[in-house]
Amino acid sequence: MSNHNLKPIDKSDLEKIAARVREGFGRYKAMIMVCTGTGCVAAKGFDIRDKMTSEIEKHGLQNEYLVVSTGCNGFCAAGPLAVLQPSGVFYQKLKAKDVEEIVEKHLQGGQVVTRLLYTDPVTEKTHEKMEDIPFFTKQQLVALRNKGLIDPENIEHYIARGGYTALRKVLSDNDPEKAIDEVLASGLRGRGGGGFPTGLKWRSGRKAAKERGEPIYVVCNADEGDPGAFMDRSIVETDPHSVLEGMLIGAFAVGSHEGFVYIRKEYPLALVRLERALEQARTMGLLGKNILGMGFDFDIEVHRGAGAFVCGESSALMASMAGKPGEPRAKYVHNVEYGYRDKPTILNNVETWANVPVIFEKGSKWFASIGTGDVSKGPWNGNSGTKVFSLVGRVNHTGLVEVPMGMTLREIIFDIGGGIPDGRSFKAVQTGGPSGGCLPESCLDLKVDFDSLTEAGSMMGSGGMIVMDDRSCIVDVARYFINFLTDESCGKCTPCREGLFALNRTLTKICDGQGTPDDLAFLEELSQTVAAASLCQLGASAPNPVLSALRYFKAEFEAHINDKRCPAGVCKPLIQYGITDACTGCVVCAKRCPTQAITGEKKAKHAISSEKCIKCGVCLEVCKFDAVEVK
């Protein structure tokens, strides 16, 4: 929507706008919510949306159906997708030509197009409505409450869903301490990985600023850098105003008038939507001077990070914002006291901020009732609310999921995630991003919250969840993550710089079949020093993949070292490709082999020359008869 239709509003206008927008929606037979999150956009989601609009116009249905471009629906595995609301009919894996059929048969003819519906790969049941699909049924949406229901580039859609009423409530109460009490009572803990009670952070920041008579800043950390994690990006792409409203409430509570969003440059779509949201909020007087005519001033500036993993660490992030190298500092003096520009600074991540308005809409009691533990006994004594995860890897339903804290890994991976594809078996799940840990099957009934995951040797992190099946080599996985962290270490402190490099070398050596028995003790000892002696949390948590792998999968290391064998068949120097009797002599593999290592007559069993073979795995991929084996 264009901004010039917007004008400054005051506190009595929110309901009027909401009523007008809802009434507008009510005039349509249905709204077609086309997902334009990054995943669907990559699969031509914008084309689907445009085609939908033009087909509807072609059929003269533009007064009956409204196409809405939404943020991420969450079910990325099924994208590009479109959902009819309010009926909830869920169309998946759409191609442009499917759109014609939907418009003709369904919108015009009233017939659901069954071939575009979702079929569960496990139960083989077809579901017409989104709410019936197992991926969605177990989720509970709090941070993602507006997911798929609004156009993120239209502030009025957010207002129509009750947006900015929480802010108004906080401003009219006009009691910052009470607002902090409310957040404290909700038990909200930082969703960026640290799990620090948000209310405590706000309280110390407010106190520090007051005592020193200095300004205080509010910062949103949108520098999500974990490979395979996209929770924060999706929230900004899907519902940017929930983040802004959270920041506004936080700013009022701590007494701040200046806020920042630190967002990585690799998130172009999120950036566009964020900037549009800021513009619209500013135009409507929801940012700037005298917000909602209620006498509070606050504005937000966007700072783009250049994509260093370590800049997600709070002090490195603040250094980067100040134009210095993105390196962390010792946090014996906390950021809430001396943060950005050495002033008290409140930093929370995207998901944390997005949770804040709900706490004021529905009350801290309601929020605290979700999840585990009892926060009334203390802010550290519970894990309330929900957590958003990006569920990826070897799992049927990859995507964005939000579940109550305390749900088990098994429920997330098997019930929501639909289990492991291709009939393989579950091997491990990596939670908490690259510096989380690999948890084995025996941990599947672990309740997912800040404290249990840490106890098990992994961590919540910001919510990455990578599922691995039996074809993943745990040594290789550990090496992969340590390699990532070796690259991303800033190099400022010695244990992280030199230690990770040595860990990486040793793991590579083991993967290459050069490992020696004393390497295991060395890995363990070195990991302990890196974890204990590093300057920041990047280094302190970096050895987790190694330590958890050693804890749960020691035998696999020993196979690499003692038997020179990679049980999962991943580590190239330790494997041999061979052809079994199942070979029909179809010659496909021989044709595709890049090094002509496969020989054999037509219709006769082929053979692989181990000298020529470069173990690229093409033969394994192309063989229709499962005749290629890895030894």
């Binding site: 370590v310 991303e488 800033c490 244990p495 020093t529």
Partner: protein, 664 residues
């Protein structure tokens, strides 16, 4: 008062200042922990992690780096706990594996009980014994000593390396060599190709102490790097020593308009502006993009070099409390090649004479010249440069004006002598010396006229109170002119001698010695020795200077000056000339009459008190001159005795000829 906190270190109870770093406490308690990235003059950054220590706080144990852990509450510290020793050992192995031949690392390895770093050997192992070990001393020294960040690390993780921006030599480097000085391995070295000093290391060590002091002390002392010499405008005003209205007063309510806060806000920020490469004090300041309002460059935006303290004080002396005037005045004096002090003092004299009716608009070409006439001052300056009008007269200085006005306008010559602040034909520089006998002598006994280059004693006398007795003052007037002459002889800047002072200077030395700042004097001697190879001490330094100083006095004598009468200042520099001046400080003067002169001022009128005080102060001054001459080896008329020349080895016939008729 700093709060003390009780902690125990390895079981030993100690008290530490709240907020101070743990490492200091550990070391002063007699325990040692190894460090590589720590340097006493630099902000700790905790990157080598070797000082890892275990603390127990509220029943919870955790590891912290002692170098940057601020002690805020009672805690138990262990520097020898099992995990600490284990991790330290592993860290030492990492270092030894990467840089096996660097002596600093071999030392650390030994301290940590490590002999073998082979587990960390890799393709990145560097055999060079002078390899960079990424401790970061140099980058911090660059930033903290010189406010630059010419050197920094580039590359993430294991690729971290030291560089200048884009791997190219950076023109912002001022060549201060701080980085090389703090480098523990010799990875950064300095090429000593200039001037062939005898012992460059000695020079650098002396210089580096200055850099370190500037880094750690300047902010809380003179703020030279920040504000330059103008920092003392505020101090002088506060101590009643800032010349106002031709030295009549020592402070003014409008002084805040040209004080260091205002000037700092106008200085071009962030640039080190030293006189030469390598100066970390870099006290020169500029005002950029200043738009001129008058004169031939009116409307141009220019860069004003300054203002220094003396120019700002010249401005207050003229009653011109306006920063824009000050910049314009500064710029045109520089551009025309005239001295801001001479013009300022001369104009202050002209203004007082104008206000007293000695001269009128008839004499000034129609210009009204009361104190504070900023536009008119600039007009006279432009006239002076163009060689027109009243400006020509002013350009000839106070001595010339006094003569002309007495002769041609019938002005009272005695009055003009009292208020005309010149001696030996040179205008006074900008300090009120009335209450400091030492500074009166410093000005008036200076060979080339009343400038403070020879003896700037006002701060020692009035602010630091380091010259309490008569003898102290006389001794200072012997020592300091010679010490300051020595700077000139060697072409050395004197600001780093006393515009930054070691933190323990006044604790370590008694006042009269503290005034000399002995640690800094020694630094200059080390520099001298490093340069020439000849060791120097106070006696030899004084000898070097005394030869020149006495020679200069002989030359003065030859030119018809250089006797006692040339050393007697205008009374304005010694005490209140007018009733108004006396009354502005009546309390102080009355007390002095009572306590020192022994006269009860009650019931006496001001004119009488002025006379009594004058008689006393002039007497004091004469007494001072007697003692100083004697100390200097001069006759009672102020001429060097031939035996003094002999003593100094400069009794050459030509020189003896100059003074032989003045011997007693």
């Amino acid at each position: 008062m700093a709060q003390m906190i009780d902690i125990t270190i390895n079981g030993k109870p100690v008290q530490v200042i709240q907020g101070s770093f743990l490492l200091g406490a550990v070391r002063s308690a007699g325990f040692d922990v190894p460090t590589l990235c720590h340097h006493k003059d630099l902000t700790p950054n905790g990157t080598c992690r070797l000082c890892l220590s275990e603390i127990e706080l509220k029943g919870r144990k955790r590891l912290v780096t002692a170098c940057n852990y601020p002690v805020r509450e009672p805690l138990c510290v262990s520097t020898t706990a099992e995990p600490v020793v284990k991790h330290r050992k592993m860290l030492a192995q990492m270092y030894l594996g990467r840089w096996p031949n660097v002596p600093a690392i071999q030392n650390i390895a030994e301290q940590c009980g490590v002999t073998d770093g082979s587990r960390f050997k890799s393709e990145l192992t560097e055999e060079n014994p002078k390899a960079c070990i990424l401790c970061g001393h140099c980058t911090r020294a660059c930033e903290e000593f010189t406010l630059e960040r010419v050197l920094d690390f580039a590359g993430r993780g294991i690729k971290r390396h030291l560089t200048m921006a884009f791997g190219e030599p950076d023109s912002h480097c001022i060549g201060c060599t701080s980085c090389a000085y703090v480098c523990p391995t010799g990875a950064i070295s300095v090429v000593d190709a200039l001037n062939n000093p005898k012992d460059p290391v000695k020079i650098r060590n002396a210089g580096m102490r200055v850099n370190a002091e500037m880094a750690t002390l300047d902010q809380s002392q003179c703020r030279m790097r920040d504000v330059g010499t103008a920092n003392i405008v505020d101090v002088m005003n506060r101590y009643d020593l800032l010349p106002v209205h031709n030295y009549r007063f020592g402070s003014h309510e409008e002084a805040f308009k040209i004080d260091s806060k205002v000037l700092k806000s106008r200085f071009a920020q962030g640039a080190a502006d030293g006189c030469w490469l390598g100066c970390s004090m870099a006290c020169a300041k500029t005002v950029d993009h200043f738009e001129l309002q008058t004169g031939p460059y009116k409307g141009h935006k220019v860069c004003v070099d300054g203002p220094e303290y003396e120019t700002a004080a010249a401005s207050s002396n003229m009653g011109c409390f306006d920063a824009d005037f000050l910049f314009e005045f500064n710029f045109y004096c520089d551009t025309y090649g005239v001295d801001t002090i001479s013009v300022g003092t001369c104009m202050a004299f002209v203004m007082e004479a104008f206000e007293a009716g000695v001269i009128t608009e008839k004499h000034t070409g129609g210009l009204k010249l009361p104190f504070g006439a900023c536009d008119e001052v600039l007009e006279i300056l432009h006239q002076m440069a163009r060689g027109e009008g009243f400006g020509v007269d002013v350009g000839k200085g106070i001595r010339w004006l006094k003569n002309k006005w007495a002769k041609e306008y019938g002005a009272d010559a005695d009055y003009l002598r009292d208020i005309g602040m010149e001696l030996k034909g040179l205008e006074y520089s900008e300090y009120v010396s009335k209450e400091s006998l030492a500074q009166q002598g410093g000005y008036a006994l200076a060979t080339k006229g009343p400038q403070h280059d020879e003896a700037w004693l006002i701060f020692m006398d009035m602010v630091n109170k380091q010259l309490p007795t008569f003898e102290d003052k006389a001794e200072a007037l012997y020592y300091f002119p010679l010490w300051r002459t020595w700077f000139g002889l060697n072409g050395l800047c004197k600001l780093i001698w006393n515009d930054v002072v070691p933190a323990d200077n006044s604790k370590k030395h008694k006042p009269q010695d503290a005034a000399k700042i002995p640690d800094h004097v020694r630094g200059y001697f080390e520099f001298f020795e490093g340069m020439t190879g000849t060791a120097l001490d106070e006696t030899r330094m004084l000898e070097q200077s005394a030869r020149v100083y006495n020679f200069q006095r002989c030359i003065s004598r030859m030119l018809g000056f250089g006797t006692r009468k040339d050393d007697i200042p205008p009374y304005r520099s010694m005490g209140p000339v007018t009733v108004e001046e006396y009354e502005s400080r009546a309390e102080r003067y009355d007390a002095q009459l009572k306590d020192q002169v022994g006269v009860d001022p009650t019931g006496k009128n001001t004119a009488e008190k002025v006379r009594l005080l004058r008689a006393f102060r002039e007497g004091q001054y004469q007494k001072l001159v007697d003692v100083v001459y004697k100390r200097r080896g001069w006759t009672s008329n102020g001429v060097p005795k031939i035996e003094r020349l002999k003593e100094l080895g400069i009794d050459l016939p030509e020189i003896v000829e100059m003074v032989k008729n003045d011997q007693e």
